[in-house]
């Protein structure tokens, strides 16, 4: 596959949705260099912004300014991408299959509207991790794993799939979901307006008033407090598992 190393600090954000495994398959180095990507509102050739090198192993992005590169793995259906560094928005958005590993942090909307495949983030994620794009339906399938923390509005309008955050998540974790599984160590106002689906948290400061306490139950062999909600939504039967409730000491 190919290694893309960003050359200089870009003035505006770059969008690389054309550089996904299925589109690069079978292309010669020269052809890859001539593919178009977007720099702001302009279309430019790949070689103007990236060093391109054919390598053994998976499609790789490298360099200091990847945080200005958007849409890595956008709409990807198969294959694997490895990103070495912090990346910009929309990583793996609309992803349908394959795998992305990020050795760093990701900006907002990673895994947006995803329907299949896997994303693994070694660092932390920004807001809207695995959430729906503004006005759109949410994540349908696939799996997102974050080793660090995540921002606000994780998994908004999710319908299926899995999001696992090892660290803390921000506000409205799993808001408006209708299916799927979300886990985090801690989150704020989790499950607001959820209709169905499962949220598992190690601790919260408080559970939203729309949730009814069902008692204690096991989730993957661990005992949790179980709530049903959010009763602000008609016919809701979402499950919220919480191990510990109360203010941080």
């Amino acid at each position: 596959m190919y290694l893309f190393t960003i050359k200089t600090k870009p003035d505006v954000c770059i969008e690389v949705d054309t550089l996904i495994p299925e589109k690069l398959e079978g292309l010669k180095e020269k052809e890859v260099k001539n593919l178009t990507i977007r720099e702001g509102k302009k279309e430019v050739k790949v070689e103007e912004l990236f060093e391109v090198e054919e390598i053994e192993g998976v499609l790789t992005f490298k360099g200091k300014w990847l945080d200005r590169v958007k849409k890595i793995g956008f709409n990807m259906k198969k294959g694997e991408i490895y990103v070495d560094g912090d990346v910009g928005m929309y990583l793996g958005a609309f992803m349908k299959g394959g795998k992305i590993i990020v050795n760093g942090n990701v900006d907002r909307f990673a895994g947006m509207n995803m329907s299949g495949g896997e994303i693994e983030i070694v660092g932390s994620a920004g807001d809207y991790l695995g959430s729906a794009y503004r006005g759109d339906y949410g994540m349908k399938g696939g799996k997102i794993k974050v080793n660090g923390d995540a921002g606000n509005e994780v998994g908004i309008k999710m319908r299926g799939g899995e999001i696992i955050v090892k660290g803390k998540a921000g506000m409205f974790f799993g808001g408006m979901i209708n299916g799927g599984l979300l886990r985090a160590y801690e989150a704020i106002r989790a499950g607001a307006n959820m209709k169905s689906g499962t949220i598992v948290l190690e601790r919260v400061e408080e559970v939203l008033p729309g949730f009814i306490y069902l008692g204690k139950d096991k989730f993957e062999n661990e005992v949790y407090h179980v709530f049903e909600g959010d009763k602000a939504v008609k016919k809701s039967n979402g499950r919220l598992y919480v191990r510990e409730i109360g203010e941080n000491k």
Partner: protein, 564 residues
């Protein structure tokens, strides 16, 4: 620039030219009979030549289009067009931004598009948006449906005031024709009531849709406007509404024909539904087609195609009912004293029995009604984005394509419509009729939609053999999606499907005489009800970047840009 288009096979229905090999001469933006020397020659052997495409009904600019754009960021994301050379960037699949609207139309060989539903209060905004749409020539139709002034004057039986008001409002909005949407229905809905037939009364005013229509048609005929009433009937999208449509068409028998039809029924597909609920929903096209044949009316199809789109009409109650069915986001935009458009997104699924029947009805209309009365539209973006036209052209031309589609979509399309039993296939001549000639003639653009001497040199060339085998429908779609050449007022703007010269388009409006006393009467409405003053309401000619007026007395287009 002088141009000779050599050896193309020409389809020009207005002049009765049906697939003849002939040369077209262009000088100074017009079609001429001969050029002696100094012309650039272009060889079009094996290609077909038609007048530039003409769209009589497409929502490309105005208040509700902007609400659609704001409301649907996810639609923008589906089509991102980067800046390229001298072309601007843009976005949107069903609600396109202004620049790419012009580019996409031009790439299909279209050179004119009319914005058919502008709340008068939004006319200024709409003109400014039209200014920004490149290449296309344009015009806008102000809405008269829930207009307080007209309804009051109907009660007073002051028909002279109505006539003068219509003329004044066209002047004030720099409009081109009169549009009526769900007459009385939107105002009634504002009072939590529904209009279900032509004789239901609008609360507080006490007038009926029948009275509104009759008085407006009389005014239009007395003023001799170039385009007839452009009407969106009552009960759009309701099962059983074909009866209302038939009743409405029958209204025209009370009037005398002059030199053009009396009524244009727009997006007829949404008005040909039989059955009395969504369960026994079926096609009512056969009955409507019979009545259309007998009466002096024209229609555009309003074809529905499968996929995601955004609905937007000045029919507020209809959009309200639609969002109750779909449960999706919805906006309503009340325009004081005038109308109340609604906007909501929709996904038309080929698996849904209702959507499959609607899809089939749109095609039935084009295949069962005499071609000289038919115009092809999707009521962009209501039935589908205008970018679907090539597919609809292919469906009309290819029985094989229709059969393949029928085998894929919900079986109701076969069981509850006649589409499967229709063998007819459109010829290229008929395609030229429904996509340009009929549209320009019905709209009263006498210098467009044909290639006769003196016509504006808007020409489309498609890379398609004149004797194309209709079983190869993919070729038809490809050819009509990307014109080989689009010539706009004598300039080549598209070459092999790519825009090469994004020239500005010209907005056409009417120049009308009206009695000055009407201004005083109208001003009382501004003083008592409107939140703007009359002076700030009237759109000045200087607000249109490029425009040309049609003086009504002569009934002839001057076609000279009076302001540049």
């Amino acid at each position: 620039m002088k141009l000779v288009l050599k050896n193309g096979i020409v389809f020009d229905p207005v002049n009765g030219i049906n697939g003849e090999k002939m040369d077209i001469f262009i000088n100074n933006g017009r079609i001429v009979s001969k050029i002696r020397f100094g012309a650039k020659e272009i060889d079009l052997k094996g290609k077909i030549v038609m007048p530039g495409g003409f769209d009589i009904h497409t929502h490309i600019a105005g208040g509700k289009e902007n609400v659609g754009r704001i409301m649907r960021p996810e639609d923008s994301l589906k089509n991102l067009v980067p800046k390229k050379g001298n072309l601007r960037s843009g976005s949107g699949k069903s609600v396109l931004s202004v620049h790419i609207t012009g580019y996409e139309y031009a790439r299909m060989g279209y050179t004119t598009a009319l914005a058919p539903a502008t709340p008068p209060l939004m006319a200024r905004h709409t003109h400014h948006e039209l200014n920004e749409i490149p290449i296309l020539d344009k015009a806008l139709f102000p809405l008269f449906d829930g207009n307080w002034f007209i309804m009051d004057k109907i009660v007073e039986k002051d028909y002279d005031a109505i006539k003068n008001y219509v003329a004044w409002l066209l002047h004030a909005t720099k409009g081109y024709a009169v549009k009526v949407v769900n007459p009385g229905g939107t105002e009634a809905w504002g009072w939590r009531r529904e209009i279900e037939s032509l004789d239901d009364e609008v609360p507080e005013f006490g007038v009926t849709p029948r009275e509104i229509l009759k008085s407006i048609i009389s005014a239009i005929e007395e003023l001799s406007l170039p385009h007839s009433l452009h009407l969106h009937c009552n009960n759009l999208g309701e099962p059983g509404n074909f009866e209302t449509t038939i009743e409405t068409i029958k209204l025209t028998s009370k009037f005398e024909r002059k030199d053009r039809p009396l009524l244009h029924l727009t997006h007829l597909q949404f008005h040909c539904y039989a059955g009395d609920s969504w369960k026994n929903f079926e096609s009512g096209v056969e009955e409507v087609a019979k009545i259309v044949k007998k009466h002096d009316v024209t229609i555009d199809t309003g074809n529905l195609m499968f996929g995601d789109t955004t609905t937007m009409t000045a029919d507020g109650p209809m959009e309200y009912h639609l969002q109750l069915l779909t449960g999706r986001k919805w906006a309503n935009k009340d325009v004081e004293l005038e109308t109340a458009p609604g906007i909501t997104p929709i996904f038309y699924s080929s698996k849904s029995p209702v959507n499959a029947i609607q899809w089939a009805i749109g095609l039935e209309i084009a295949l069962l009604i005499p071609t000289e009365k038919v115009m092809l539209t999707t009521d962009h973006p209501n039935g589908a984005p205008f970018t679907k036209y090539p597919e609809i052209i292919a469906l009309l031309m290819s029985k094989k394509f229709r059969e393949e589609m029928l085998s894929k979509v919900n079986a109701s399309a076969t069981k509850r419509t006649m589409l499967g039993s229709i063998d007819r296939e459109y010829t290229l001549y008929e395609i030229a009729m429904v996509t340009r000639a009929n549209q320009a003639m019905t709209a009263g653009f006498k210098d467009k939609g044909h290639l006769g001497e003196g016509a504006i040199a808007d020409v489309a060339v498609y890379d398609l053999p004149a004797d194309v085998d209709t079983r190869n429908y993919e070729d038809i779609i490809k050819a009509f999606s990307r014109a080989y050449l689009t010539i706009k007022r004598g300039e080549i703007v598209v070459k092999e499907g790519e825009v090469i010269k994004p020239v500005s388009g010209i907005t056409r409006y009417l120049e009308l005489d009206y009695d000055k006393w009407i201004e005083k009467e109208v001003n009382t409405y501004f003083r008592d009800y409107y939140t703007v003053s009359m002076q700030n309401y009237i759109v000045d000619v200087n607000e249109m970047r490029m425009c040309e007026s049609v003086a009504i007395k002569e009934r002839r287009c001057k076609s000279v840009p009076i302001h540049n």
